[in-house]
């Protein structure tokens, strides 16, 4: 039995690429023949995968199974439509275009195209979301409820091993400040401006010995400029640091040095940084939006509307009230168990048995 996986790209450090490789590893372990195809294959992975053009030779193989990872518009969705194989769609979510309108029209158009194409991917045997939030979007796109399910992603194990950049750690600790952290691409749906404003109130009214670290790549010039202007206007130039993209070790160092993970995103399909914060024992204060409450489960602290005063005071309690902090962290550690690889593996196996790819 052959199983193929097709996606947009296979790139080091990318969560979906990692998920694809983990699935591949299990398929092989279960005695299946496994192939990976992607629009772009990084040089590191060329021994493991082929570019999507090579998938053409398998199109007319009705006994095979195709797993299509969909996270961004890619013309290779037509291969998914054309093939005679049985098909599983795994939807990793696409940011709604309105978040990019006014900032980057090309990106907005790409997201719009991606979401429009989702409707055309209905002809699958099973559609999986990596959260129930994503699964509901599949149902909204017209896929019958009974043909949908949830398969959480295999989290990169390398993210969940301790590692520290000693120089960076020394530098961070030397400041003796309370450190707020937010992680992810610096894009409008993450509402970094709200994180900055919450921090501004905390810094000005509660604790001036504090810093905010925004860790993630910056690539929308208009949005970056607006955030820089905001920081400037609020006179926070010495207290807010945009690190840009950092190495895995540096990222772990920020998690270990920080006192609070603050997340104000309006749209997340899953949100890996929340899981990373759980692993590193960092109390989480996050906006209750999209898949965030689902990923947190009973853990972390959520805010629904943005009353900066309350959120800033809550942040203060989470960093200063040791008892509350310990309770929150304990719940987070408990929640972390739900994302263990063996649970995801068991669910993948159950799905493949249901589709008669594996024997019961």
């Amino acid at each position: 039995m052959r199983v193929h996986q097709l996606g947009h790209g296979l790139i080091p450090g990318d969560a979906i690429s990692h998920h694809t490789l983990e699935i591949d590893r299990r398929l092989r372990a279960w005695g299946l023949e496994s192939h990976i195809f992607a629009g772009h294959v990084a040089s590191e992975y060329q021994a493991l995968a082929q570019t999507d053009g090579h998938f053409h030779s398998f199109l007319d193989s009705p006994d095979d199974l195709l797993i299509y990872h969909y996270s961004i518009y890619d013309p290779n969705y037509r291969l998914f439509q054309k093939t005679l194989m049985r098909k599983i769609l795994i939807y990793h979510n696409i940011t709604p275009p309105q978040f990019f309108q006014g900032w980057d029209r090309s990106l907005a158009a790409l997201c719009d195209a991606g979401r429009r194409v989702l409707v055309e991917l209905r002809g699958c045997d099973l559609a999986l979301g990596d959260s129930d939030f994503n699964r509901r979007e599949l149902v909204a796109a017209g896929i019958p409820e009974e043909k949908t399910d949830v398969l959480s992603i295999f989290l990169p194990q390398s993210h969940f091993t301790p590692a520290t950049d000693p120089d960076l750690m020394t530098q961070l600790q030397a400041q003796g400040t309370v450190k707020f952290l937010t992680v992810g691409r610096v894009v409008p749906n993450k509402a970094i401006e709200d994180v900055i404003r919450i921090f501004a109130l905390y810094h000005r009214a509660i604790n001036p010995r504090s810093c905010l670290y925004v860790v993630g790549s910056r690539y929308l010039p208009a949005y970056d400029t607006a955030l820089d202007e905001l920081v400037d206007e609020l006179a926070l130039n010495d207290a807010v640091v945009f690190t840009g993209l950092v190495s895995d070790t540096a990222l772990k160092t920020y998690y270990q040095a920080a006192d609070l993970y603050l997340h104000a995103s309006h749209h997340e399909g899953f949100c890996v940084p929340l899981i990373e914060s759980m692993y590193f024992g960092l109390p989480i204060l996050a906006r209750k939006a999209a898949a965030v409450p689902e990923t947190l489960g009973d853990a972390g602290v959520l805010f629904t509307r943005l009353g900066y005063k309350k959120v800033a005071e809550m942040a203060h309690l989470l960093v200063s009230d040791e008892s509350l902090k310990a309770q929150v962290i304990a719940r987070q550690r408990q929640r972390l168990q739900d994302f263990a690889h063996d649970r995801v593996e068991a669910k993948l196996r159950e799905i493949l048995i249901r589709l008669h790819v594996l024997p019961a």
Binding site: P75, G102, R105, S106, A108, A109, A113, D194, R197, A200, L201, R204, A205, I206, A222, A226, E229, E233, L234, K288, D298, V301, L302, F303, T304, R305, L306, G307, Y308, K309, K310, E313, M314, H316, L317, L324, Q327, V328, R331
Partner: protein
């Protein structure tokens, strides 16, 4: 946002007394506001997500916010080419190239208009800022004269 706008599920878990925590937060906010006022810190501006007022501000907060927004946005007219892929078989590539060329032509004229609009916006922003400065001077002057008159009457 009023202080009593609590979110019931802000904190979860039987071991956490959410109501007690929220009461504490409300009390802290009241204390913080009072303390901020005593040292001249614009607490409400930060709390409401507004920008701090200029130290010598004498007009309404809304006016300063609006002028600030005009100053930030007068030249933000983003125009670029956005073309969706055509799905016509065989001639799709040709159609795409023709559409792209037409878009470039349209953009040429739209950009000329945009440049004029930005020039106008800039002049309007300058005028607005000048008006606000004049108004501030006028208000200060009038307040001083009222104070003088009241002092003389007394």
């Amino acid at each position: 946002m009023p202080d009593d706008d609590l979110t019931a599920d802000l904190l979860k878990g039987d071991d956490i007394d959410a109501e007690a925590i929220m009461q504490e937060i409300r009390a802290r906010i009241r204390a913080r506001r009072a303390e901020a006022q005593s040292r001249g810190f614009d607490f409400e501006a930060y709390a409401d997500g507004l920008y701090p007022l200029p130290p010598d501000a004498i007009l309404s907060r809304d006016l300063y916010e609006a002028v600030r927004y005009v100053g930030l946005s007068y030249d933000k007219v983003n125009i670029d080419r956005v073309l969706t892929e055509t799905r016509l078989p065989l001639i799709g590539g040709l159609v795409h190239r023709v559409r792209a060329a037409l878009h470039e032509l349209v953009l040429f004229y739209v950009n000329r208009q945009a440049a004029r609009q930005i020039y106008f916006n800039e002049q309007a922003a300058r005028a607005l800022n000048a008006l606000v400065r004049d108004l501030e001077t006028e208000v200060c002057d009038l307040r001083a004269r009222i104070a003088d008159l009241e002092a003389n009457q007394g």
